[in-house]
């Protein structure tokens, strides 16, 4: 993974001092809250329902054991002993004091971490496929490019006061595990017919009040031109994105208003000028230098035999949470942070420390955060899987539900978030508990439920096979269902079913929706496939069944 050189290290140290000065000026009155707010947001510091929340950047979701230990330490020393892994591969702490933040930043800088640009109207954390470098189906590791984009976008003088936030993702596989098409901008590493590697650039995707699937704005951008192209897109957005209405300020609105042809035209004009100026060309030496950081670990020559264990639960976990690695004898292991009835995406300081120990013991140098709020061990020796499973079980981290109905994505919701209209975590807990039975979960198969507590859609509910949006109707929490969304390469926005359900009724409604799928499905169909084949009506009829009876 990337290691800071003296420039990066100096940068974060100076950044800590800069933020310390900003906090001083706030506390001594030189800055009002209105002036301080954009500064603290640029450092990922929100004022939430109970306290300040600090969001720490985890570039493309990659962490070392040393960094994990520091995060556990921060959870203990400055928070209440746990952290939350987010849908943008970051980690956030919920009980932070403003006065502690400069010290926290200093402690993070020691382990090459920071909180810069995890909030605010700037370019945010660059996310990437959480199986990067390990997946059997990737063209190349997307993270060197993600790192290049990260550096280019850090304190970019032209793009730090955008109309609104800007999220970039990078992928390198036909199987889109990074939800590229729901990002403001995304880069897909592709190969053309001549076998050359280049970049397909998407823009204008997004969730929120008005979800959109991104359009292709650059079909095949040459490697050395990618930053010039991205800068061109950013410039068009910064100049022309709406600033009169925060709900209409994302690039997705601009792309839709201009139309894709005009968007491409404006981008092309900027791109040609920037490329001609030559200052953003990536020299090969720099590309090679960064590539070297992401060289795969020294793989051993190992048998590719499936591992066995006397533990009967191992087979479930192997089947569900272990994915194919590009290298024989190795595997990718997903650590579920969705224990039945638990808070999705949360991990305690003890769990985080134990994972660091586990990594050291089994020689795994990196761990990943997925945007589905789970953790991933990318390079695991197959023969180590039984022992690792045993350790994870003892930690409560071995729930074999990756991608199943109880692997729910939920934003913090009204239990934590100042923006929320409804609670989301209890709904996730309720649904997971209803489907606790593992056999039932396997029978249902792949089913991605995503829950958001407000229209900002941090739970990505538009991309859920079943999406749930919490709303406030005259002071009562209601939950709207959406069906048929997908964040993968077959990106689609879920269709809204109809009126919302109360907190008590949403769980049963989801059960009836899933029962409908089980009745109607054909061989091999996932929930998503059946929905796409039969449409909303059968599901809608069953979901509102109780209401129909109640009305009589």
């Amino acid at each position: 993974m990337y290691r800071y050189d003296e420039f990066d290290a100096q940068f974060v140290r100076e950044r800590v001092a800069q933020f310390r000065f900003q906090v001083e000026r706030r506390l001594d009155g030189q800055l009002t809250e209105d002036e301080f707010k954009p500064l603290r947001l640029m450092n990922g510091l929100y004022l939430q329902l109970h306290a300040y929340m600090l969001r720490i950047a985890v570039p493309y979701g990659t962490l070392s054991a040393r960094q994990l230990r520091r995060l556990a330490h921060i959870a203990r020393k400055y928070d209440k002993g746990y952290g939350h892994f987010t849908t943008r591969q970051n980690i956030q702490f919920n009980w932070i004091k403003l006065v502690d933040v400069p010290d926290i930043l200093a402690e993070l800088a020691d382990v090459e971490m920071h909180c810069l640009q995890t909030s605010g109207n700037c370019i945010r954390n660059v996310t990437a496929d959480h199986f990067a470098g390990a997946a059997a189906d990737e063209i190349e590791d997307p993270r060197p490019l993600a790192e290049i984009i990260r550096q280019w976008s850090t304190r970019h003088p032209e793009f730090s006061f955008l109309p609104r936030k800007f999220k970039i993702a990078v992928g390198a596989s036909a199987h889109d595990r990074a939800a590229l098409k729901f990002h403001d901008m995304a880069v897909e590493i592709v190969r053309n017919d001549a076998g050359e590697t280049g970049y397909r650039v998407y823009a204008g995707g997004g969730m929120g009040r008005t979800p959109y699937v991104a359009h292709v704005v650059g079909e095949f951008v040459a490697r050395e031109d990618i930053l010039a192209f991205l800068e061109a897109v950013m410039r068009v957005y910064n100049q022309s994105g709406r600033r009169d209405n925060i709900y209409k300020a994302r690039i997705k609105i601009l792309v839709n208003a201009l139309g894709i042809e005009e968007t491409k035209k404006q981008v092309q004009r900027e791109f040609e000028e920037i490329r001609a100026a030559g200052t953003l060309q990536l020299p090969k030496e720099e590309l090679d230098r960064i590539d070297a950081y992401f060289a795969p670990p020294q793989f051993e020559a190992l048998s590719d035999d499936e591992p066995h264990s006397l533990d009967p639960t191992f087979a479930h976990w192997l089947k569900q949470n272990v994915s194919k690695h590009r290298r024989p004898g190795y595997a990718i292991a997903t650590i579920s942070l969705k224990p039945i009835g638990g808070v999705p995406g949360d991990a305690s300081d003890a769990q985080i420390d134990a994972l660091a120990d586990l990594m050291d013991e089994f020689g795994i140098a990196e761990i990943r955060v997925s945007h589905e709020q789970n953790l991933v061990l990318p390079h695991v020796r197959k023969k180590d899987l039984p022992a690792i499973h045993k350790r994870l079980k003892a930690l409560g981290l071995a729930t074999p539900n990756a991608g199943l109905v109880s692997d729910i994505i939920a934003c913090p919701g009204l239990d934590y978030c100042d923006l929320a209209n409804a609670r989301s975590i209890p709904i996730a807990q309720d649904i997971a508990t209803r489907f606790a039975d593992l056999d039932r979960q396997h029978d249902i198969g792949e089913l991605k439920i995503k829950i958001s507590g407000c229209i900002n859609a941090c739970g990505h509910h538009h991309a859920g096979h079943i999406g749930i949006l919490g709303v406030d109707k005259k002071g009562v929490e209601y939950y709207q269902l959406q069906l048929g969304g997908s964040g993968a390469e077959d990106a689609s926005i879920g269709d809204i079913m109809g009126p919302g359900f109360t907190a008590q009724n949403i769980g049963p409604a989801v059960e009836r929706v899933i029962d409908t799928y089980l009745k109607l499905r054909r061989d091999g169909e996932r929930f998503l496939d059946t929905y796409r084949r039969v449409g909303m009506e059968p599901f809608k009829n069953m979901a509102y069944l109780e209401q129909m009876y109640a009305a009589h």
């Binding site: 706030r26 506390l27 001594d28 009155g29 809250e33 004022l47 939430q48 329902l49 109970h50 306290a51 300040y52 209440k80 009980w95 932070i96 004091k97 403003l98 006065v99 808070v343 009204l414 239990d415 934590y416 929320a420 409804a422 609670r423 975590i425 209890p426 807990q429 406030d472 002071g475 929490e477």
Partner: protein, 107 residues
């Protein structure tokens, strides 16, 4: 004309972000002890007085929210304020609900 809904004045402490409530010119942590304003004039006057604490960098964003009486105690009308006064409903071991004396967890 219906009686005005009683209100409570709240804010967050600048330094630690903690939720606080107004009681006769001081900021306290326990919702149950917050001052209740039966009429708009009293509430508005307190909100105006609270601005000094903003200027003095004690609190940020003071605002009024509606409450009602239920079985002899005050309760926030909005779920959001209930959560703010107690802590996360999914972690009853955290926040005010877990640490403050004379705290009455809502059921």
């Amino acid at each position: 004309m219906a009686a005005p809904q009683p209100q409570v004045l709240t804010a967050n402490r600048l330094r630690d972000g903690d939720v606080v409530y107004w009681n006769d010119g001081i900021w306290i942590e326990v919702f149950a002890k917050a001052q209740i304003f039966a009429d708009k004039a009293g509430a508005d006057a307190a909100l105006a007085a609270a601005q000094a604490f903003v200027t003095d960098r004690i609190v940020v964003n003071p605002y009024l929210f509606p409450v009602r009486e239920e079985e002899g105690r005050i309760r926030a009308v909005e779920e959001r304020e209930i959560v703010r006064s107690e802590g996360p409903s999914v972690r009853r071991d955290l926040g005010k609900q877990a640490t403050l004396e004379s705290f009455d967890v809502s059921i």
